[in-house]
């Protein structure tokens, strides 16, 4: 999943996967924090935006 997204030009780090059991609350917090940080660091994705609807 991740590989093709990166292969077609989505920045590494924008798409992340994790496996968290419902009992692993601390892991959930850690993962969410980490993902948020890495996505924030990348900034908004300007590629994956519809242009035509925005333009009109």
């Amino acid at each position: 999943m991740k590989n093709l997204m990166e292969h077609m030009g989505v920045e590494p780090g924008r798409l992340q996967f994790s496996w968290i059991s419902s009992a692993e609350s601390t892991k959930f917090v850690d993962v969410v924090t980490k993902v948020t940080e890495s996505v924030k660091a990348l900034g908004p994705n300007t590629n994956y935006v519809k242009k035509s609807a925005a333009k009109v």
């Binding site: 519809k50 035509s52 609807a53 925005a54 009109v56």
Partner: protein, 346 residues
């Protein structure tokens, strides 16, 4: 009507003069084939093509086109009201289109310009456009325009017809719009009207592929519909939209709302009778659920329903694009011949 001679060394200059008054469209090499596009200020139409992959119908009828805009923001006093999408209907010209494609648009007009309703998007674009044709001196193997009520020098739907005469184009102004266009380009030298007839005869003679549609008008629509050959003929068809999108006379469309946050656009997009979704009812029932039904619809529409509805011949101009591009080699020429020759067992 006037006949003008355009020396090829005045061609680029003339095109440049036209840019201020027209949005220009023309065939340009894109990737590995010619297609129509709006010309940038440094582009001239490339007239050294045999046929474009897609027809110029998109100049009048873009594949995706905004119809209305709206706001979903309830704090906006005009929320949920449809507003006209911004449009540019200033004069435009398609330069170097094939006569078959111009005739195709004239046929499609019958769908969009009716007694009861007038499609403003299609009609405004159509009326804003000057159609400058380039006669077809070297038709393709798949061309059968002369069997489809058309021809390499056909004038219907065109405002100007150009014929390539070596170091010059001879231009026949067919309408007032066409004369205005030629004048705006600054082309005024008188041309020799007599070049057209022999060139026309020569070009027509090159089209050896003949399709017989002469009996279709008098055939029973029901008998053709119930003919036993549809399943067999449609076997190879993969039900893609290639034939419908590439066809200059196919006009079917879909209407879709596209939202982005609280703003949205009501769009219309080309659609295709080849897809099952095209006719799927809300109830789940689908009158054209099967491949052969959709296949039959396409050919019956082009070769029979249209013929009956308007009595203006086929809804096909013989451009041959569907024949060339069909991934499965579905050939409208053989299907037309088959329908034309079909006699229902009594």
């Amino acid at each position: 009507m006037k006949v003008i001679k355009i020396d090829k060394n005045t061609w680029a200059g003339g095109i440049d003069s036209l840019r201020s008054g027209y949005r220009l469209f023309g065939p340009v090499m894109q990737g590995d084939a010619h297609d129509y596009k709006e010309l940038t200020s440094d582009e001239t139409p490339d007239l050294a093509y045999t046929n474009t992959r897609l027809s110029p119908k998109s100049v009048v009828f873009p594949q995706s086109e905004p119809m209305f805009t709206y706001s979903l923001d309830e704090s906006d006093p005009e929320h949920h009201l449809l507003k006209d999408a911004p449009k540019d209907y200033s004069p435009r010209a398609v330069i170097g289109m094939r006569p078959c494609d111009a005739k195709a648009l004239a046929l499609v007009r019958m769908n969009f310009d009716t007694e009861e309703y007038r499609d403003p998007f299609w009609m405004n674009s159509y009326e804003a456009t000057t159609f400058v044709g380039l006669a077809c001196d070297n038709p393709c193997e798949t061309c059968f325009c002369t069997s489809a009520g058309c021809g390499p020098y056909h004038e219907e739907g065109l405002d100007v017809l150009l014929s390539d005469c070596g170091d010059a184009y001879v231009a026949k102004a067919l309408t007032e719009k066409g004369e205005t266009f030629l004048a705006a380009a600054g082309w005024a030298a008188e041309g020799d009207a007599s070049v057209f007839e022999p060139k026309k005869a020569e070009a027509e003679a090159k089209i050896t592929c003949k399709v017989d549609s002469s009996n279709l008008r008098d055939k029973s629509s029901l008998a053709l519909y119930d003919a036993p050959f549809w399943k067999e003929l449609s076997f190879a068809c993969i039900n893609c939209g290639t034939c419908t999108y590439t066809c200059p006379t196919c006009w079917c469309f879909d209407i879709q709302d596209e939202n982005k946050g609280n703003e949205g656009v009501r769009m219309r997009n080309w659609d295709s009778c080849m897809t099952s979704l095209f006719t799927l009812h809300g109830s789940g029932h689908n009158p054209r659920d099967q491949k052969h039904q959709r296949f039959r619809q396409r050919f019956m529409h082009k070769l029979k329903y249209f013929v009956d509805k308007y009595d203006k011949g086929l809804m096909c101009v013989g451009c041959g694009r569907c024949v060339q591009q069909c991934p499965a080699n579905i050939d409208i020429r053989s299907i037309c011949n088959k329908m034309n020759g079909y006699e229902a067992a009594s």
